[in-house]
Symmetry: C2
Subunit: 354 residues, 2 copies
Amino acid sequence: MADELIIAVDGMGGDAAPEMVVHGVAISHERNPEARFLVFGDEALIAPELAKYDRLKDACRLVHADVSVAMDDRPSQALRRGRRKSSMWMAIAAVKEGEAHAAVSAGNTGALMAMAKVILKTVDGIERPAIAAMWPTLRGESIVLDVGATIGVDAQQLVEFAVMGEAMSRTIYGLSRPTVGLLNIGVEEVKGLDEVKHAAQLLKESNLPIEYYGFVEGDDIGRGTVDVVVAEGFSGNIALKTAEGTAKQIAAYLRAAMSRTLLSRIGYVFARGAFNILREKLDPRTMNGGVFLGLNGVVIKSHGSADEIGFASAIDLAADMVRNDLVARIKRDLGRYHAPADAAAAQEVGIGTS
Amino acid sequence: MADELIIAVDGMGGDAAPEMVVHGVAISHERNPEARFLVFGDEALIAPELAKYDRLKDACRLVHADVSVAMDDRPSQALRRGRRKSSMWMAIAAVKEGEAHAAVSAGNTGALMAMAKVILKTVDGIERPAIAAMWPTLRGESIVLDVGATIGVDAQQLVEFAVMGEAMSRTIYGLSRPTVGLLNIGVEEVKGLDEVKHAAQLLKESNLPIEYYGFVEGDDIGRGTVDVVVAEGFSGNIALKTAEGTAKQIAAYLRAAMSRTLLSRIGYVFARGAFNILREKLDPRTMNGGVFLGLNGVVIKSHGSADEIGFASAIDLAADMVRNDLVARIKRDLGRYHAPADAAAAQEVGIGTS
């Protein structure tokens, strides 16, 4: 598959699937004309959608799947009902079988992660995969991980997140020495969770070739203080959702303020171009797509509520990851980093290696 | 002190103390002309500041303190160095001694909480005090607690936070049945921390007269989904700081967009009124002040980087708490709630009472 780019798509995942999914494929295909797509799902529902886009005829292959994972299925339920015969499973399995280079789904996050772990397995040296988000900042873009795959990780797992996030940052942004920070709280009385403090010690004392910056706080994320923000999944998810909520809230304030008086409405007309730029900057759809890191394959999770524009961004992201060979880079980095890191960590802070 | 309102002020706390503190007192005094102030701190530094404001002459009494707690002192250090003779300690002690109704400090949060616990003690039925923040939302204002006093709380402590936050909401916003939600993550695989799940069970099954809404996610805070958001201090602090950072980030985007072209600059001139309204809405200084809940007395923490306007807001908040007798209300509610809650909780989920 050397010069090809094949993306497996879960046709049934997402609130507005399959219509939104197929439309998203069509949009992304225009930007990635060399890409081919395997769309998995209910043939009776998807075929009419595909028929709407002439250009997709040669670029898409529809593969029927009997089962669709519901947005509210528990992961265990989804695994039981959806093993082998769900569109979600089949999309990931296509990556495993070498039929596709990446899988994209807007379905149930927990089910997607559970299936991805079962099918693709975690990379050697990674205990638990993480979900990485790309976060717009005042300096550009940062990577924040984990934003919800794990809760209750230990220090060593946080260090693994640091290694993976750093590799992703070099891969997709081309940075040579991305800086890495650990998300913590700044209240002096309680200098954060023990795991976070311990991870800081590991990162400082180990011989990992990582540009470790130190602790960062919630307001450092949007400021772009570091290129990679490492967090445990619970607080990482809360940070991500809180930022999304705040952005929506301010956009609503702004709309209300601009429509308040005749003068402000006139001002709006003049400044429309500026508002459009701002709207694009704040459009969560252009940043849609959580990257599953730590698996033997590329899996991208789109927001369940994504529209076709958002879903197309998630496909673009998958294509980017494949072109830049992210998985191979992470494996190489981990291979290079993990052994000495373990040894150094064990030696320097007196813990056993795993 | 029945008809009086006396606020004890730590004159040496905050990045720009004491100048900023005294200026803040002067601003708040204009809005609370009946209030009297005890300002604690280095006489040589504060007296010249007080001399700048004629009107404060009768409203303020300066009490010399030998020691100032540094912003980066550890709480244990601050307690050792600052016991009895620091401006921070003396301000809190004035509340304990009945010389003041509330204490306000922009100093070191950890030290302030540590001293407040030692001097004022926690209210019966509260294991650990929390810091509550008032959060502007699309529906008005919500209370979020804890935003950084505690990490690693258990389910029973989260329930105590719910009781205190609910009492504060009724007290300062006059709501009769404020709704209460538990901050959690929505990823299906991992339905949040065990403590949070357990607290949900306690709130649902107990006979607390609390309008328990259920779990809320990060984006629900700004949306105003519930009146009181209960969180463990680590994630609560990260949510707060992330929202502050996002607001600053968007304000910077907006400024850049509006100054980009001649048209947008003209638009800005027309819409200046609207922008001023937005600026006020986003001004963190109007919301400055974390309320320490669960202590036998009112203590308000101002942002360390607050300016005089922010510090004046923190004083206003303290005055509000005193006028509405928050501490007595919390005690009454806890007395009414705690015993049955404990018993019900123990009975229904099979845990021992504490």
